[in-house]
Subunit: 162 residues, 10 copies
């Protein structure tokens, strides 16, 4: 029994594009982590997981490598991944999943604090969620506690004057 | 006219605790940024903004310093800040403010990707939003573009087996 | 500055009955914990806090003792506490407060598991939330970690056959 | 006709992971209670029911024992239980089921009272729903009335200062 | 301290018409039950309570008698009660009040059963909630248990054929 | 063409347990009213309709009689009816069906009036929807108008003092 | 290609009763308008369309005529149309369809104006939506503009005094 | 006591523009029906009620006449009525008021039937709610029953081809 | 692998009419852009995409050309496209897709500003969304940045006076 | 009576920042259109209306000119306009105002069509609502009909690859 790779809950399939079960099934069969697959693609593991959930686009090279590392017929993957992602429908908000809810709660609690600080640092505008990258890191402190560190990095977009 | 410090929208006051207008009014009058105030308190500026919005607790020393740096009567601040924060009611979700919405959108789009990656790295559990700290940084790339970097750091909590 | 007693967030007052600010203000002034007040009344501290939030009824004896221990004019308290509680409107659901949300999440995640186990133990029915009592306890384990223990005890009500 | 074991409502299957009908069908066929199965696994019956509903993780040993006690092919169960639970989607909130609604109502009515008492006992923080265990007990009073007792025990997490 | 008459929660006043606080204040001062007032008016006590909450209309004779039995200036009451009731806004649905929720739950659980039985008894149509009366009765069984009996009686309206 | 028995709308099947289409199909084929079936079972017709919609539990004797009167294979019915009802999910609230909406409207309009009167008659508590029975009756007045009379009878549960 | 008869959007079928696709498919095949079918049945075309959508009841004679004019096997139609309509579930509100939204908007904008005028004309009561008929007419003004005229005619129901 | 003119529920004032209480108070004082006022203005009574609720615009001549017939200072009314109506916010949907709900229910039940019939009569388009008028009439049948007749008349707008 | 044409996310199919998968599959197979297809039909590419999503009507000539350019059997397309569009159900609001959300956000942020300016320019009325056309253009500025320009053009409809 | 300038509905004031009534009152008193004020500021009239509603930022020069053209004390305006806009809270969605709803409906109906066309023209990304400008124009066709033309121009932001 493989204990450590993320798989796809069957009850979620109807909310996801065609490639999601294809990719997750192959990943489960080969027992590969997103970290491993990401190394093959030269991309961040969060971006790769986002491709699996239909939330990010795969380039033709990504598709080729995914097909190869996951032993999927390339033409099938090309067909399933050719379109532009239709993002955001994997879940209803507020998130019910406790792990994802914690991120939502951070936005709910610190949202205005972020805005106040960002406005003072950058002026009137927003941090882009499109010109944007993110990563997840693991830290272990001297007491042996693990800490998750999520970094969000987005381009600052000032409001146009018109 | 001070152009660079965040102030409090009057239409938000009824959702906030008593200290919010007290603190924001004093901050506006003294034209102080959260960065400045945070330096005085030895805390992160996001945490300080969160105190202003009633989303974080001020220690007795924080109260003393806030009263001093903002020229507020200490007894008034002590009274207004003595309770335990009643968090999360500054806004309705989904956030309507574009800056805060972008953070919400990141959770909506990448939520399952974060979960998949975190589960593989840490096992079954969550990143705490309580044993948690966050910071905001500004980067400028070689083309002169500004980038906002938000870091979320939370203790990993594995689900108890029972 | 009193650091340890719960107070009332002013932005909540419009959702609460007239006695709430009366009681909380007096409690803050006298710096009394719910535990202390509960000892005076011979009731559980959760029940006393529920009276403060208008979620439980005070008996005439409770009113007398509350007036006495909190130095409130008895006739005022009698008038404010004479009616039957209009329960449930202190917050919108889902709760935004992280502490209360955790309780909500327990219901959301374990709700069906509780039902399945209770049905097997008791048959077809419900655990009453009216013929009901609850308490909060604090435990400290050998590593110095604190644990909150909440006990819910309700009469089992079988569905009537008709 | 077996009268006393909980089964799975077919109209709920589409909200549940693949293992749910597998496990419930086997349980119904063998007419086993959660208490019985829990004894075999050395776990609490609520935790076992939560595994059945996809709300808790089964260890490899749990899977082995479940397969054995329920006469399910182990490889099938291993495949269906290998992933990390995608929690919280068994129902929409507010719960419509009367038994589960009563728990929700307790949170709605006593939420602020719990918070006030917990803050006074522990300071600013939350009771974890992750470092958490729960149990259900049956008491019968001298008048022959049955009482359900649900215990929630969670680690206290103080808010980090940052 | 009057213990047995229903009063008006102050936090509800903004949802109610002008007569509500007038009537409830006078009722509290005179410590009168709805049953008593209903006897004076020759109406059912539920109808009288509905007048107090702005959910039913008072006839000119009702107004006269209300003014008299409650010692309210008749011209004030005439002015406040002259309009047509703007019904239904006393609460948001689902009801949060446990007593009212139970009635809502009965509709939620038995709604289709009522419809199936009514259709078979009367054909295609509805039970009017306008050509309608209702009453509340108290029964005590031989074991001393109290039972509330609510009767709903509405004209059957068949769908028009057109 | 049978004109007078209630049947099951096919678009509702996915919200109902497995026994619902089994029972309704057999009822339609035999053209039996709930009144008839209820007489066979010695139960109220609303309770029987509730069993059909999965909102009430059938005893082993009920199952036997249902199988017999409806010509259904007993073992099939035993299997479909063995579990504990998962109540409340037959419809979304507010009800869209006009007949059921009228009942909902009665709760919405008269909810507080019922509470005020019940509190005065019984004290602080609720009318149980579990220790509860209900019936539907038909009355015809001297002008030939039909009236539907629904009676709700629930045990009064006083709030526990703790 | 038939251009002028209304057909059934396939994505709506799961919300409709069994007769809807039967009727609409036959109507499309025979290319009949609701006006035509209504003439055959001696009913209004809106009522006929409502039968197609499961929102009105067909009498045995209607069924016979529908089977004949639409070339549907009568026994099939009898079976599909024998029950009592389960109304109101064809769409979620607010309506997303622009044509239907305009009607909703009229209620939203003029609702209180209708109430004020109706109350003055009829007293305290409602216009029935059950003892009710409606029709659609087409007018063309002298400039060649078309106007749709929808008439709603409902019995006035005064509130009962009780 | 005036029994027959519609007045303004005080709890609605905060949702309405400044002219609403001005106009309704004057109307109540003069005990005028909308029908009367409409005759003075040469407009339909529904339109006049809509002006009172801020849902329709008054022309300068309307303002002059309103001031005159209602004895309001013209300059005050000019100031309060000078802007463009901000429509639609008088109530939340679904309407809770039973009279208005019936209109909403008609849209909910017959919406698709209207669309199907209108499309067949007019083609692809909508009935305008802007190039629109409406009226309310009272009919009494030979049995003495009153019927309300509401007419909606809107320009047909075909979808543009582009 | 075709990289540049929009395809249809399979998880959206159940919300769309029958022609949507037919048209999108043919388009993907022939690798045609909406711009190309629009040129063939002599229509705007947004209108053509709207036909694909069931949000606009195709004329008989459009159907003929679509069948020809996409190599679809004409009779199939005629059957699937013969009805009147049932618009607006492609997504739930607020839109979760980031691209579409930005348009929604523009309405949310600038809605009142548009209204204020339009009212001043045109008087009391609306811009029609039916007598309406729209187009999308691409501009590239001197720095090589791309800009999307969306034009909305609707007939001004003044409110009727009645 | 000024008939042509937009004013502020008093019932909206509590959702707006402090400057909104200041600016609108002065504008009404001076009877100035947004077009006029925009000419003074050298900005687009939609942007100016957005400043009035707190949805766009005014530069120090804008503030100076606004104070001058509207005869407002400059220091007051500086204080009210110094903060960063807290956007998006002027209304609840869906918009109830018919004019604004039409814009929302365009997004609802054409959202996916815009996305499909934009993706084909620009690739995977979004049109920015921040690096964004908009304008409103009036056209009159040869038949004397008025047309409103709204142009949305936003920078294209491609998704970052990471």
């Amino acid at each position: 029994m493989s204990t450590s790779v993320s798989t796809l809950d069957k009850s979620l399939v109807h909310r996801l594009p065609a490639q999601s079960p294809t990719l997750f099934d192959a990943k489960a069969k080969k027992n590969l982590s997103f970290e491993k697959i990401a190394q093959e693609l030269g991309r961040n593991e969060v971006a790769v997981a986002a491709i699996f959930y239909g939330q990010a686009r795969a380039s033709p090279e990504d598709v080729q490598k995914l097909a190869s590392v996951l032993d999927i017929q390339q033409s099938l993957l090309e067909e399933q991944l050719q379109g532009f992602p239709d993002r955001g429908r994997t879940m209803d908000m507020p998130p019910k999943e406790p792990l994802i809810y914690r991120l939502y709660e951070i936005v709910q609690n610190y949202g205005y604090a972020y805005k106040a600080v960002l406005n003072e640092k950058f002026g009137d505008g927003i941090m882009s969620a499109i010109s944007f990258s993110t990563k997840v890191e693991k830290e272990t402190d001297k007491d042996g506690n693990n800490w998750a560190v999520i970094t969000l990095r987005g381009k600052w977009l000032p409001y146009s004057r018109f």
